[in-house]
């Protein structure tokens, strides 16, 4: 936890928020899922803490269209958001971004990784093109996407950025190329948002990293709930075995897959398998996705975001230059003459090329369909997993389903083992589950609760728009530096200086050091004013002496003209017969003193040399008058104020009684709050009643 030392504050998460009534609003961290709360799709998490607001992800719900697919943006004020962080390019995490940037009053900054940004552009253009909705239902168009590109800033893995005092950086998340987990640090409270993540290294992606620091809150996906994945080797073997046996029997293999993400992993597997099996070299493999073809350049470029295996291969040749796989533009270009392997989108077989091929091949027994990932409820792909006898084709006819259907999940989401292992290593005090069907999430929660039963861990599963509040009591730390810190003070010693706050760090310094330690600087304003005066200079001196305690004459040797210094602040020089010049350094007291002197000099001029002796009051009289004023002022402030028997003032406020020693300013009172108020009030009253004090320094 070395960064606690560098951060300005350390935070002690409060284990029991309700037991501390003094918690102020600033200490409350509020998390509100605007999407993906107890559902999969339209990920969007709103977080606010200490006046800073962060939004994680900005997706759409693939099952809905138009505004219904958006997260609940109307629950929040987009203009208050400081930073928007996008974890990866999938539609359910990024696709409402153009809408949010172009159609709302959001003014903050947006960040995503380099590869996410490159693919985001291609993926959303494709999404706009293929989504068959009416013009009114269109959330945004191609131009909005292009405009949004200029507003998106990039962040590299581990790069630490700071915006408005919000520090954040990201870790590798696995899942897809460029997927990131964001760690956000606001005033020392760390929040980890995993997005979609996978702790298992595959052919091209690294496993999600384990952050170096324990976050105070972990917002984690729960797509697979308590399910467990098969080991990767077994999955890959099943996959290649199915394909190999199908094509060796002369069949065709259809792999319906989303164009980006898992598809690239499967292509790598196939390309490598073909490389190792020369007997297969005459069997073509196609990927029928123009989008995937366009994105291949991105995969060929951002090699450094991938794992060491790919980077080592890269030393010889680019592994994404496939040797045995070729792109396929459309079904018209497809010469279906013999065994082949075709990967086509969409993954759900709703329409498009994958469906066309499915319709063509489904009644042939030797063909096979391999479903390689998570399938959404209600799609044909989900239906055929249960191997029905017949299926309805796109043209409405019913055909027998004879082809082999295999479900081999390559989904790069964490399973239960990974999730629980990840949380066990991190041990965050607060866990928020998102991105999972309510049932799966519920089961995961149950299991995690029992796993962390002996710790103080809190689990939350908020629904959309349901806020979760957590309290973090803060201890603000400051660093005293420069001249002020030459000696470490003992208990009870006074420390006075400038308190400078930047972001969430505090520094205390002497005014003279301000320029040294910050970009601010201080100024002195010297004022020089000439006042017409034609009388004798001695008269001014005489008058001033009556008003001010300290009026010094400078010896004539030092100043060429007669000079007076009042309260060591204001210098008056008798420059000529017609005017005097006053000079002082600006500050409220000097300004006041100088004003009174100016008024006096002008009055002398008007009154002429007439002088009236001022009635000399005794010290006791002065004191008595002052006490009277203090008494009446205290009455006006506190009401019940009486003179006590020992000369002290007895102040009664409601049931509390306080005794104020008028001479020393000491206050005796049971009620702490009242005592402080009286002390404060009395010191101010004193300041008003007593004459202007002589300058302190």
């Amino acid at each position: 936890m070395a960064s606690f030392m560098t951060g300005g504050q350390s935070m002690i998460p409060n284990p029991n928020p309700t037991a501390t009534p003094i918690t102020r609003e600033g200490d409350q961290l509020v998390l509100t899922p605007l999407g993906a709360g107890n559902e999969v799709g339209r990920s969007c998490m709103h977080m606010s803490f200490k006046g800073k607001t962060v939004l994680f992800d900005c997706g759409i719900h693939p099952a809905y269209s138009g505004v219904a697919a958006l997260p609940y943006f109307d629950e929040i004020d987009p203009s208050t958001i400081d930073v928007l962080l996008i974890t990866h390019f999938h539609l359910d995490h990024a696709a409402s971004l153009p809408y949010f940037l172009e159609k709302t009053n959001f003014r903050g900054r947006v960040f995503m990784t380099h590869s996410t940004k490159a693919i985001y552009r291609l993926l959303l253009s494709d999404y706009v093109k293929v989504s068959k909705v009416s013009v009114e239902d269109m959330l945004y168009d191609e131009n909005d996407i292009i405009r949004s590109m200029d507003k998106i800033e990039v962040i590299d893995f581990h790069q630490t950025l700071e915006v408005n005092g919000i520090r954040f950086w990201c870790y590798t998340a696995g899942h897809v190329l460029g997927a990131a987990m964001f760690m956000v640090d606001i005033a020392g409270v760390r929040v980890l948002y995993t997005g979609d993540y996978s702790r298992e290294e595959d052919r091209h992606l690294r496993a999600a990293e384990l952050p170096q620091f324990t976050p105070d809150i972990c917002i984690i996906e729960s797509t697979y709930g308590v399910q467990l994945h098969q080991p990767r080797v077994i999955r890959e073997k099943r996959f290649t075995d199915v394909i190999h046996s199908t094509i060796s029997q002369g069949g065709r293999v259809l792999i319906p897959a989303f164009a980006l993400g898992r598809a690239q992993e499967l292509l790598l597997i196939l390309d490598e398998y073909w490389e190792n099996h020369p007997e297969l070299h005459n069997i073509p493999i196609y990927y029928a996705s123009p989008l995937a073809k366009r994105c291949m350049a991105v995969y060929q470029t951002y090699i450094n975001a991938m794992n060491d295996r790919i980077r080592t291969q890269f030393a010889n040749s680019n592994p994404f230059d496939f040797k045995h796989i070729s792109p396929l533009k459309s079904i018209e270009n497809f010469d279906d003459v013999g065994p082949s392997v075709v990967m086509a989108s969409p993954s759900g077989l709703q329409s498009g090329l994958s469906r066309q091929l499915f319709d063509k091949w489904c009644s042939e027994k030797k063909n096979a369909c391999v479903i390689p990932g998570y399938v959404v409820e209600g799609t044909l792909a989900k239906t055929i997993i249960n191997e029905p006898k017949e299926v309805t084709l796109m043209n409405g006819l019913v055909a027998p389903l004879n082809m082999q259907v295999h479900y081999i999940s390559f989904s790069a989401h964490a399973d239960y083992a990974q999730t629980s292992g990840f949380l066990k290593e991190l041990m965050p005090p607060h866990i928020v589950l998102v991105h999972g069907e309510a049932n799966e999430m519920g089961r995961l929660k149950q299991k995690l609760v029992s796993q962390f039963s002996d710790t103080n861990t809190k689990l939350y599963t908020p629904k959309n728009c349901e806020s979760v509040s957590m309290y973090f009591t803060s201890e603000k730390m400051a660093k005293t530096i420069g001249r002020l810190a030459e000696k470490v003070p003992e208990t009870g010693e006074a420390v006075s200086g400038l308190l400078v706050k930047k972001g969430f760090t505090y520094q205390i310094m002497a005014p003279d050091d301000l320029r040294v330690f910050s970009q601010l600087c201080t100024a002195n304003i010297t004022q020089r004013i000439t006042v017409p005066y034609s009388g004798a200079f001695e008269v001014i001196k005489y008058r001033l002496k009556q008003i001010y305690e300290s009026v010094e004459s400078l010896p004539v040797e030092e100043a060429e003209v007669p000079t007076l210094i009042v309260h060591e602040r204001v210098t008056i020089r008798h420059e000529s017969d017609t005017y005097v010049m006053m000079q002082w350094s600006s500050d409220p007291i000097s300004d006041m003193v100088s004003d009174s002197i100016v008024a006096m000099i002008l009055n002398i001029d008007r009154e002429g040399p007439k002088m009236t002796p001022i009635e000399e009051k005794t010290h006791e009289e002065m004191e008595r008058m002052a006490q009277k004023v203090v008494h009446s002022l205290m009455v006006s402030l506190f009401g019940g104020v009486k003179y006590g028997e020992d000369g002290r003032l007895v102040i009664t406020v409601d049931a509390d009684v306080a005794r104020l020693d008028v001479k020393s300013g000491e206050v005796e009172c049971e009620n702490q709050g009242l005592r402080e108020r009286i002390t404060m009030a009395f010191s101010r009253v004193q300041g008003a009643v007593r004459p202007i004090p002589k300058p302190q320094c």
């Binding site: 009870g492 400078v500 003279d512």
Partner: protein, 740 residues
């Protein structure tokens, strides 16, 4: 009180020797860069050899020989085993640069300062970081955070920020504030008031011409030569500045649809560009943007052909062309051979884009006026044949036998040593000082060198005369004067036999000598180096244009002034430039400027005092902050209280605190104030450096030369006769400040 910081240059001060500095932070030794020069002169590394073992971490800033060249050698011979930190491109391009140098050296000599395996071993423990990644060191370095930041100059180039307890030490050498085609400018200017800034004075006296003008001249010169049927040779580095040049040429060729061929020739040219293509996230915003929008990778080269073999140029022998080839120093590598070929024809141009390292051929050619003729050594690696091969085999046998004898003698010696006999000690020394066998006839020089190196490699054998182990030291016998190496007039007499010998040899080889020699390097066929000296008449045009991509003198000064470090350490620059920058900075930036000598340890521990306190809720609830830019500021009176474990807490004072002198905070610019006053309807104009407001009032800033040094408040004077205007203007003036 603060963190202790010591800086000890090991090389690279008051001159152009490679960069290597030891920075100790609270006893943790950081080696900043570990450079060598193109000549691989071990004498330069002596200071490093003395401290290498105590180094705890190495931070590398640029992928070239001057910044990381000594890593393999130091690791092998000095026991430099500390982890190395660098950005991904510095790691990768640095590795390729080392390969290129090794292969080039190996082709012409029995180079064995280090091997390819040594390079790999040295780069194996490089920890790769991203820009702005805060890396927390552990164990001995607990509490130290290192972070690489964009430096410009070379791809992946790094300004290192080392932080401990909130104090920053910034190491910034060879940075470039200008945005280039493939790189962003440095972010050095965003660091404000670090405790220590270590920077170079390399360019303190150089000022650059306007970039666009320079680019145009560059293209014009090249085209002029090409159109006159000449060849342009650009000696470049392996994987650094060459990238910018390639982009300039690509861009221009694409604009003008030129058809002159361009070649990038180095031992690693194709893999360099292949890797560079995958480093888009480290390049300039415009390159990243064009990729995001159109997926056009700027390094998908359309006009530049990548070749790793000089023979590929044979078909283009008489075609006008541009050849970019390593090394920039012309000492070794393809550039050396190409130069010899091209120098004799007046139509050709050798265009230098960086200053040659001291003592290299490139430097010699860059003097004004350029030399009429230079002496070069042409070397070639050829396989052994006939008698030589036999001799070699015999030699191998002999070596084997000797080795056996040696082993036996060592065992014997050790036995004897147990009995602590001095006599046998010396006899052992003798037995190990085997003279290199003279069997390899025509390569005595090289093999002699080889023999010496063997001793160096095999370890620290004490010569019979010395008591303790020591490094063998050989004096450089070449004589130098102000004009470079002293030339023996006899060398100008062209020796018939020798060139005949040369011709005969090259005839004997197969058609692709380079490939053959690379091939020879990689397998262990016995081979030898054949070399001969010859004099090249320099008839071609020579030109130097600054494409080094470093900030120029004026910018360096203004950047340093902006960063305004509390202490400044100057390194790497000629004595003149160092002194100049030192004087300048001492006057205008900060009073504490250091320019240490080699192995002179300077203490730049900040005299800053600091302690930590806790701010109590009660105190904070009374504090009202005023916002000023990114700062919030307030006056605070408090008393301290000691709470648990020596933590001090600040509480509100129990009684009214004494009145403090008021503080005006703000930065007044007279020009802005003038604007402000005129919007308020006040007649205002500048008169003699002061601002004349209305009829009689003047506002003036008293500038004090000592102010530049960082401390002290601004002095502002307002004067005038007693009148309404006076108070009005004073009111406006006050509104420019915060009163605390």
């Amino acid at each position: 009180m603060g963190t202790s910081v010591q800086v000890t240059p090991l090389s690279g001060v008051y001159g152009e020797s490679p960069l290597c500095y030891l920075v100790a932070i609270d006893g943790f030794n950081l080696l900043m860069d570990c450079g060598w020069n193109d000549l691989f002169d071990p004498a330069l590394l002596l200071p490093l050899s003395r401290v290498a073992k105590s180094v705890d971490a190495v931070l590398v800033s640029h992928p070239d020989i001057l910044h990381l060249g000594a890593l393999p050698y130091a690791r092998k011979h000095f026991g430099l085993s500390a982890p190395v930190y660098a950005t991904e491109p510095v790691y990768r391009l640095g590795l390729l640069t080392m390969y290129d140098h090794y292969l080039s050296r190996r082709q012409i000599s029995d180079f064995d300062m280090f091997t390819l395996d040594d390079i790999d071993a040295a780069f194996q423990n490089v920890i790769r970081l991203k820009y702005s990644q805060n890396y927390h060191l552990s164990e001995k370095g607990e509490g130290i955070v290192i972070a690489p930041h964009v430096a410009g100059h070379l791809l992946g180039g790094t300004v290192w920020k080392i932080t401990k307890d909130g104090e920053d030490v910034v190491y910034a050498v060879d940075f470039n504030h200008r945005k280039e085609r493939h790189l962003n400018g440095t972010v050095l200017e965003s660091f404000v008031r670090p405790a220590v800034l270590i920077t170079d004075a390399y360019n303190a006296l150089n000022n650059q011409v306007y970039k666009r003008q320079r680019d145009q001249e560059f293209i014009d010169e090249i085209l002029r030569v090409l159109r006159a049927n000449g060849t342009v040779l650009l000696p470049v580095d392996t994987a650094g500045r060459v990238l910018e040049l390639i982009l300039i040429l690509e861009q221009y060729w694409a604009q003008q649809h030129l058809s002159f061929p361009i070649f990038f020739l180095s031992n690693v040219a194709s893999s360099t560009i292949e890797y560079v293509k995958s480093f888009l996230e480290w390049m300039s915003d415009s390159i990243a943007k064009s990729f995001e929008h159109t997926r056009d990778n700027a390094f998908l080269l359309k006009y530049v052909s990548l070749i790793i073999n000089k023979s590929d140029l044979e078909n283009y022998a008489n075609v006008p062309k541009v050849v970019l080839t390593s090394m920039a120093s012309l000492e070794v590598g393809f550039s050396h051979d190409m130069f010899v070929e091209l120098a004799t024809e007046t139509k050709n141009l050798v265009l230098f884009t960086e200053r040659g390292q001291f003592g290299t051929l490139a430097r010699m050619l860059q003097v004004d006026p350029p030399p009429k003729a230079v002496k070069v050594t042409m070397s070639k690696r050829v396989p052994l044949v006939g008698d030589e091969l036999k001799a070699y085999d015999e030699e191998q046998e002999k070596i084997k036998k000797e080795e056996a004898v040696k082993k036996a003698s060592i065992i014997k010696v050790e036995e004897v040593r147990a009995a602590s006999s001095h006599l046998s000690e010396s006899s052992k020394g003798d037995s190990m000082m085997i003279d290199p066998p003279s069997a390899v006839a025509s390569s005595e020089v090289a093999s002699h060198f080889h023999g010496k190196m063997d001793i160096l490699v095999d370890g620290f054998t004490p010569p019979s005369t010395s008591v303790t182990p020591m490094f063998p030291f050989f004096e450089n016998t070449a004589q130098w004067d102000d004009f470079g190496e002293v030339i023996n007039p006899d060398d100008y007499v062209i020796q018939e036999e020798e060139s005949n010998h040369m011709v005969g040899n090259s005839k004997g080889l197969d058609a692709k000598p380079d490939e053959a020699s690379v091939h020879l390097l990689l397998d262990s066929t016995p081979s030898k180096v054949v070399s001969h000296e010859m004099t090249v008449q320099v008839k071609c045009a020579l030109l130097y244009m600054d494409f080094e991509g470093r900030s120029d003198g004026r910018s360096v000064k203004s950047i340093i002034a902006h960063v305004a470090p509390l202490k400044l350490v100057l390194v790497h620059g000629s004595a003149e430039a160092t002194e100049h920058l030192k004087m300048h900075c001492a006057k205008h930036v900060c009073p504490q400027v250091y320019a240490p000598q080699i192995e002179e340890a300077i203490d730049v521990t900040s005299d800053l005092c600091a302690y930590k306190v806790q701010l109590s809720e009660k105190l904070m609830s009374n504090v009202l902050f005023r916002k000023m830019g990114e700062y919030e500021i307030s006056w605070m009176d408090s008393v301290t209280e000691k709470t648990n474990e020596k933590m001090l807490t600040l509480l509100p004072p129990p009684s009214a605190s004494p009145v403090h002198n008021s503080v005006l905070v703000g930065d007044l610019k007279l020009a802005d104030f003038k604007q402000f006053l005129s919007t308020k309807g006040i007649q205002v104009e500048f008169a003699g450096g002061a601002l004349k407001c209305g009829e009689h009032i003047t506002v003036r800033k008293i500038s004090d030369s000592s102010q530049k040094a960082g401390t002290g408040a601004q002095q502002i004077v307002i004067e005038g006769p007693l009148c309404d205007d006076y108070y009005k203007i004073r009111e406006h003036l006050y509104s420019q400040f915060y009163l605390l």
